[in-house]
Symmetry: C2
Subunit: 422 residues, 2 copies
C-alpha cells in the first residue's frame, strides 16, 4: 500500500489526538453535548480548515467542512460519521469515519485533485444515544426527520434537546435548512463492531444494508406459588417456560441465519422476573427480544415462528400464558446498488480483500440513505469489541478503509457527473 495517497500516520495522529479529549476517570468518554465534545470538535474544525475546507455548523448541529467542485450544478460527495462516544466507549467508533474524511480532504488538497462535485466532511451531531435519549440527532436533521417531540426531550438536568442543539451551535427552529437535497452520494467508514472481518482475515466489509431493528417483548404469565410447599408437578413456573422460549429464540435465529437471505441475529438482552424472590415460584417473566434483519421478510418470518413457539410452549404448561408484544420497529436501510458497485470496483483495483456484509448496528448512514445514494465500509476491529475501553482497530486497517473511500469517491464523481450530463 506504500503508493497509496492516504497517509496512515497522519490519519492515525488525528484519531490519537481526539482520544485525548476524554473524561480522565472513564476512558474513552466524550459524550455529545458535553464541554469535552465541544473541545474535540474545535480540533476537528481546525483540521478541516487546515485541509482547506470551508467550515460551518448547520442548524442540526452538524459540523461540516466543504470543498467546492468544478461543476457548481452538481451536488456534494459526502463522507461522514461522528465524534461523540458512548459512556466508557472507545476511540474508533465514529471517529475513524470523520478522521478518514479529513485525510481525504488533505489528499484532495495537496494533490490539487479537481472533482466535478463538491466534497464535504460531516461530523454528525450525537450519533450515539444522547443524554436526551435520542440517537443520530444530526443525521436525522439532514434527512428532515427531527421532529418537535424529539426536540422536547430533556436530559437529567431538565434541558431540552432544542436548547442542547443551540448550545452546540445549531438552531432547532431553523432545522429545515439542515435538510439536504443536494447530496450526490454519502459514504461512511466505520469499525465493524463485530468479529466477522477479523475472523475471516479480510481488509474491508462493503455494507449492503443497515439491518432493520425490531424489538418485541415476550411476556410469560404463570402463578406465584410457595417455592417450598408446591410440588413440582403442580407449578405454573413462568421462568421455566421463559427459559424454553430463550432457547427457542436462539434456535429460530440460527435457522434463519442459515436459511434467510442476509444478515440476521436475534438476542434476548433484557429479562425481568417477578416477584424475583428466592422462595416464590416466578409468576411473571418478560424477555426483550432484539431482532436485526437485513431483509424485512426474514424479520417477518421470525416473528411468525416466534409467536407460534411462545404460544405452543405456554400452552404445554397448564396455568401459563405467553404473548408477544411489539415494542419498536425500524425498517432496514439498504445501500445504493450503484455505489456498492463503485466500492467493489475500487476495492478490487487497489487490491483489498473484501466481503459484502450487512451492518447489525445503526449508523448515520441509515439517515443519509433516506435522502441520497449511500453506502458504508467496515474495517476489522479487535475481537469484535466495541462500546468499551478495549475497542481497537489497527492503523493500517483504518488507512486501507480510507483508501477505499478515496478511490470510490474518484469513481463515483465521474459516474455521477456523467449521469447528470452536466
Amino acid at each position: 500500500m506504500a503508493n497509496r495517497p492516504i497517509r496512515e500516520d497522519r490519519l492515525w495522529a488525528d484519531i490519537e489526538e481526539l482520544a485525548t479529549f476524554t473524561e480522565p476517570d472513564r476512558p474513552w468518554t466524550r459524550r455529545a453535548f458535553s464541554p469535552l465534545y465541544v473541545e474535540g470538535r474545535e480540533l476537528v474544525k481546525a483540521r478541516m480548515e487546515a485541509a482547506g475546507l470551508a467550515v460551518r455548523i448547520d442548524a442540526g448541529g452538524n459540523l461540516i467542512g466543504r470543498r467546492e467542485g468544478a461543476k457548481a450544478a452538481l451536488g456534494a460527495l459526502v463522507v461522514g460519521s461522528h465524534t461523540d462516544t458512548v459512556p466508557g466507549g472507545g476511540r474508533f467508533d465514529g471517529i475513524v469515519g470523520v478522521a478518514a474524511g479529513l485525510e481525504i480532504a488533505r489528499v484532495l488538497e495537496e494533490r490539487a485533485i479537481a472533482l466535478d462535485h463538491a466534497f464535504e466532511v460531516y461530523d454528525c451531531l450525537a450519533e450515539e444515544v444522547s443524554p436526551y435519549g435520542l440517537s443520530c440527532v444530526g443525521s436525522r436533521a439532514v434527512a428532515g426527520l427531527l421532529d418537535e417531540m424529539m426536540l422536547a426531550r430533556v436530559d437529567d438536568e431538565g434541558e431540552t434537546l432544542r436548547d442542547g442543539i443551540t448550545r452546540m451551535g445549531g438552531d432547532a427552529d431553523g432545522r429545515a435548512s439542515a435538510r439536504r437535497d443536494d447530496v450526490a452520494c454519502y459514504l461512511e467508514l466505520h469499525i465493524e463492531q463485530g468479529p466477522v472481518l477479523e475472523s475471516e482475515r479480510l481488509d474491508v466489509g462493503i455494507v449492503t444494508a443497515i439491518a432493520g431493528i425490531t424489538r418485541v417483548m415476550v411476556e410469560v404469565e404463570g402463578r406465584a406459588d410457595h417455592a417450598g410447599t408446591t410440588p413440582m408437578h403442580l407449578r405454573a413456573d413462568a421462568l421455566v417456560v421463559a427459559a424454553e422460549i430463550v432457547l427457542a429464540i436462539r434456535r429460530l435465529a440460527e435457522e434463519r441465519t442459515r436459511t434467510g437471505r442476509g444478515h440476521f441475529v436475534a438476542t434476548v438482552g433484557e429479562a425481568r422476573v417477578l416477584p424475583n424472590a428466592a422462595n416464590v415460584v416466578p409468576q411473571f417473566v418478560s424477555l426483550l427480544v432484539d431482532i436485526r434483519a437485513e431483509k424485512r421478510s426474514d424479520c417477518d418470518q421470525f416473528l411468525v415462528d416466534l409467536t407460534g413457539e411462545v404460544e405452543g410452549l405456554a400452552s404445554r404448561c397448564q396455568g401459563v400464558a405467553g404473548r408477544v408484544q411489539p415494542v419498536s420497529d425500524n425498517a432496514p436501510a439498504p445501500s445504493d446498488p450503484a455505489l456498492l458497485a463503485d466500492l467493489r470496483r475500487a476495492a478490487d483495483e487497489i487490491g483489498l480483500s473484501r466481503r459484502d456484509m450487512a451492518s447489525g448496528a445503526g449508523h448515520d448512514m441509515a439517515w443519509f440513505s433516506r435522502i441520497a445514494p449511500a453506502a458504508m465500509v467496515f474495517v476489522p476491529c479487535l475481537a469484535g469489541r466495541s462500546h468499551c475501553a478495549e475497542e481497537w482497530s489497527d492503523k493500517g486497517q483504518i488507512a486501507r478503509g480510507a483508501d477505499l473511500l478515496f478511490e470510490t469517491l474518484l469513481i463515483a464523481d465521474k459516474r455521477l457527473s456523467a449521469k447528470q450530463g452536466i
Copy 2:
C-alpha cells in the same frame, strides 16, 4: 364431628377478630414489632386469661399462657405458632395455630380435664422475616439459639433487634431464661401453604419433617457482545446457557421427586442478567436456586447432579464458564416418631382422612424440635395460596385440625407421663 369438644364457631371468631388488626390499605398485614401487632397480642392475652391461663411474656418476647398440670415434676405440653404476618399476607398463616391453642385451653377448662402435664400456648415472636431481616425470633430464643449477631441487626429506622425485643416486652440480655428444657412435646397446627391436601381431598397432613432449605447461586459468565453485529455462532451468551440450566434444574428436581426418599422441590426464584441491555448479548447471569429436601441425602445428590450439569452445559459453549456457589444451608428438622404415632392414632380414632407429608416451608416447630419432641399438623388451604390476601382455609377444616391436636395431647399426656413413671 358434632360431638367433638372443639367448637368451630368459637375458634373461627378468634381468627376473624385477629384479622381486624390489619393495616387498612394492605389487608391482611400485621407485621411483628408494629403497634398493630401489639394490639393483636392484647386480644390474644385477653383470650388466654379468659381461658384460665396464666399469661406472661418471656425474655424472647414470646407471649405464653400456661395451665398447670397434675404432676408438677412433668414438663409442659406446648401448642404454639405465631400471630405476625408477612406484608400483604393472610389471616391464617400462624394465627390458626395460636387460635387452636386458645380453643384447646378453653375446652380443657370448661371440661375440667386434668392433664398430668402443664399445658402452654405459645404466641411466638416474629416467625415471619421481621423488619430486622430475621425470622423465628421467639422460637430461636426458646431453643437458646438467638445470638449477639442476630440481636445487633437493625430495621430501616436503625433500631436494633435487641431494642425491638424490649419494646415487645422481652429482655434480650436475659434471653437465657427463655430457653426451655422442660417441654414434654410441642405441637403446631398450620395451614399447608401448598395444594396437596386440597387436591387429594384430605382432612389433615401429619408433618414428618420440616424440609431442609439449601440455597446455592449458579453463576454463568459469558461475553458481552454487540447484539446487532455479532453473528449467532460467535456468541458466548450467558442467558442462553442459563436458560439451559433452568431447564436442567427443573428436570433434576422432577427426577429427584420421583426417585428420592421424601419431599423434594427446587426452584429458581431469582435471576439477574448483566448488563441487561436490549442491544448487548448477556455477559453474566446469576440464578438463585432454593432447594427443599426432607432427606439430606436427596439434597446432596441434587447438588452433585446440578454441579455436573452446570459445568457440562457451560463447557459446551465456548467462552462460557459456570459455577455453583453455596449461599445458605439449613438441615431438615424431623418430627418426633412417637409423637407422629400419637397423631396418626388420634386421627384414626376421630375419623380424619390423613397423609404423611413434609413441610417445605419453615415453621417455629423447627426450633422447638431442637429442644423437645415436636410435630405439626397441616390443614388444607384454598388452591395452596399463602402469603397473600387470598389465603383461605375453611372453618371446619381448621376445627378438624384443632380436634386432632386436642386428641393427640390427651394421648401424649398419658404416654409421656407413663414413660416418666412419675
